[in-house]
Symmetry: C3
Subunit: 357 residues, 3 copies
Amino acid sequence: MVTEALETLMSYNLDKLAVGVLGSHSALQILHGARKEGLRTVLVTIEERIPFYREFKHLIDEFVVIQRWSDLCSKNVTNKLKKLNTILVPHGSYVEYVGLKCAEEIEVPIFGLRTLFKVEASQREKMSLLRRAGIEVPREYRYGEDFEGLAIVKLDGAKGGRGYFLAKCRDEVVEGVEKLIKDGVIDGSDSVLVQEYVVGVPAYYHYFYSPVLGRVEILGADIRYETSVDGLKRVPPKLMEVLSAKPTFVVVGNLPLVLRESLLPKILDYGYRFVKATQDALPPGIIGPFCLESIIKDDLDIVVFEFSGRIVAGTNIYVGGSPYSQLYWDEPMSTGRRIAREIKLAVEKGVVDRVVT
Amino acid sequence: MVTEALETLMSYNLDKLAVGVLGSHSALQILHGARKEGLRTVLVTIEERIPFYREFKHLIDEFVVIQRWSDLCSKNVTNKLKKLNTILVPHGSYVEYVGLKCAEEIEVPIFGLRTLFKVEASQREKMSLLRRAGIEVPREYRYGEDFEGLAIVKLDGAKGGRGYFLAKCRDEVVEGVEKLIKDGVIDGSDSVLVQEYVVGVPAYYHYFYSPVLGRVEILGADIRYETSVDGLKRVPPKLMEVLSAKPTFVVVGNLPLVLRESLLPKILDYGYRFVKATQDALPPGIIGPFCLESIIKDDLDIVVFEFSGRIVAGTNIYVGGSPYSQLYWDEPMSTGRRIAREIKLAVEKGVVDRVVT
Amino acid sequence: MVTEALETLMSYNLDKLAVGVLGSHSALQILHGARKEGLRTVLVTIEERIPFYREFKHLIDEFVVIQRWSDLCSKNVTNKLKKLNTILVPHGSYVEYVGLKCAEEIEVPIFGLRTLFKVEASQREKMSLLRRAGIEVPREYRYGEDFEGLAIVKLDGAKGGRGYFLAKCRDEVVEGVEKLIKDGVIDGSDSVLVQEYVVGVPAYYHYFYSPVLGRVEILGADIRYETSVDGLKRVPPKLMEVLSAKPTFVVVGNLPLVLRESLLPKILDYGYRFVKATQDALPPGIIGPFCLESIIKDDLDIVVFEFSGRIVAGTNIYVGGSPYSQLYWDEPMSTGRRIAREIKLAVEKGVVDRVVT
């Protein structure tokens, strides 16, 4: 709970703060960044990943080993984290690994807005927050509704695009969803969102909202690399027939991108709008990294089809800094390092309670 | 005019030179680079973009705010720029924003070759300069001529690819062009260029010609990210039918690229040839950044289908330096910074008149 | 021969070691890296490439100019290299340029495992080494065998993908191979490998095995940029018909990639397995850089369809360091520089014989 977490924070030795992270997603970047800013580091991991993370033990002060990810919220583990003065940094795997309840209620202070996790778990609530921010979003179809053009069918929960599919009519939507239900992937048609497939190019913007400096920074941009869709596009139409493969959208990596500078004012404006909407709906509002996920159309409209309220994996491209972070900081500033910098700035100004919930 | 601009230069305090740029395209990179080289910086912008550029005010010494872009050439503004000892750096939006006449005739010194702007405004003259340089170019079809394979239809003026289209026969060319005329996008078929669509992969090379060092540097390479063509390729052939969308080629971003090292000798040779051709046709020839825009075929032939005589947006990828600029400079050298370095070198050697027109 | 090369090494002045490389592929990166580590540098090149490499003479202590690449093994040239205390760094063009016999038998010490060159020359032996390592590989079809789905037909020797083609049935395989034989590209169907075309996305992992530190480092990842396949995917299905172009797979560049962090444990495990397999089959086993070339499927399986036992061109992306090398070294560490660092570390510890064969 927020209050307990803030109480915990009060008990911390601020000279010995540690950044804690689950062993996945963008952990290495976050640890590396914390180390560069002189903070201590804690890696929470399950046993089978120890051999991997041990290769980076020069970045890690403490290993906290757990049996299952959901053990994060056990008294034993949270006590250990508190004793280490840990501020937990939630990333894209956090809620997926430990479950929504533990993610929200953990008594350890979190760098970020924990009340946003529930919103993120629902495709519909996500879109509603974006609309509230005045950000352009794709049309949304009711399940079973007829539509023109193509639709993309999305599932609740951040599972890296797994299960998403394209459909060219109502019947294909229903057929696909019924299969997912039969396969036990989803419980019912309530957990799917049927969205207009907007024609244009995908672009993902990495933002950082600094409560200390009171500004939104654009720290980078990327394109997701998705299997199998980004492989299938290399297969000529004539040969596609024999593959009988439908494109899938499982994210396995990220590619760097820079944007036309004349698009940046709008992109930054979207960032500020999003921050404002979270401050209105879920005070104190978002803290630190977030991502808007968009299609840029050929009339230069930017349609946001999803967001992430935490650090996204695309930031892993920029462990050594991005073209954009150079412009703000003129030093090799990754999003992971930016998190640690914000904690340090907050400590220096005596406002560390403003960067955690 | 060149003479007036050079006279203006004579009156400048060379210890207080400023780099001036319009707020768009690659302005942030250019300002950042100037700052790193210790030059002063001037941003010329319209009002609506002030909020955005104010976020980067740590990079900007002076804001010059104008009502409309074309006000750049008003006495009032040019006097301000002269008083600030400004050398203007033209980028890809420069001519498009202020118009050809102002772009060419402004009395403020320009880092670059201002007589090239007129050539760049015409697809036909561009191709003719490339041919003169002995650089391989695509076949060109007369409007209304029959052809084999595919053609791409291009419009005059750097509008970021807007309006370009593919056609598989003469009739599709005519139909498309007539629609553009009807829609008021172009005046007549004289402003289009019908080019062979060369089969291969696009690749853009960022060059820098240094009059001070007398050499051409390869500072980077990129691929353009174009909406909607780069999005449509993710849609499976079977689903394309329902989209009824034709690919468009509006550039919204850039992706980093490195090239097979054995291609670099030819690419560098093309760079030297291009410099030579501009020196012959438009003395003193090109100054600073330019870009050759090519298709690499599978026999490793490189066919150049366009050029840009100024800094291109693809260089924004490399604000922190590129793989290639590392090899020349072994420091984080962007094209923007390289411009400022060239000005500094020219001042040190007393040849600053050689880097402006 | 190994013994002669090691004898040569004994005669070297270890305070004046030079890194030698053929002028192609990743030479600039290797030279740049050696220079940063304070080693001397030797470039071996044919005459026509001198103008190009002279532009980088600030990175090169000695030019060794030869008539034809195969002259590398002439007494004259090897003597020169020995006198310069040269350790030769083989890259992706090395065997292709000088021929297998010279590559293997040269008396100059090689940073790498020279007995691996022969394995690399055969697609079948390559796959067999991967299987021996316990790494998942694509199904392999006998020439003339029926198959389901798509197959890719590959040729022996590292020719950058030239001649590779897709086939959707046995007959297309045979037809294509017979054409290659007729055209004199290959001698017979023995030099082709018919592999299952695995549906997913390509991803290439750059490893470095350090005999001195006893560990495998992941130094980067990339995607190859292949002409014409990566261009053709931009052409809409309807227009493809008129092109009558089949996709080809000639590598002309590389694009940066980062991977989902949860995939890295498996990728690193594959790296260790590969090292172990070479140690078992070809002691002392691989030294320095190698690359596994894979498809990632949408169930997150990683299928390795090829490897390279030397530095790959994809590392040229990271002349200034990669997101991954940052995590290990926290300095701008390219693979080229990592090679030089390993030589330096080996000299310091008195085990330089462990990094050459």
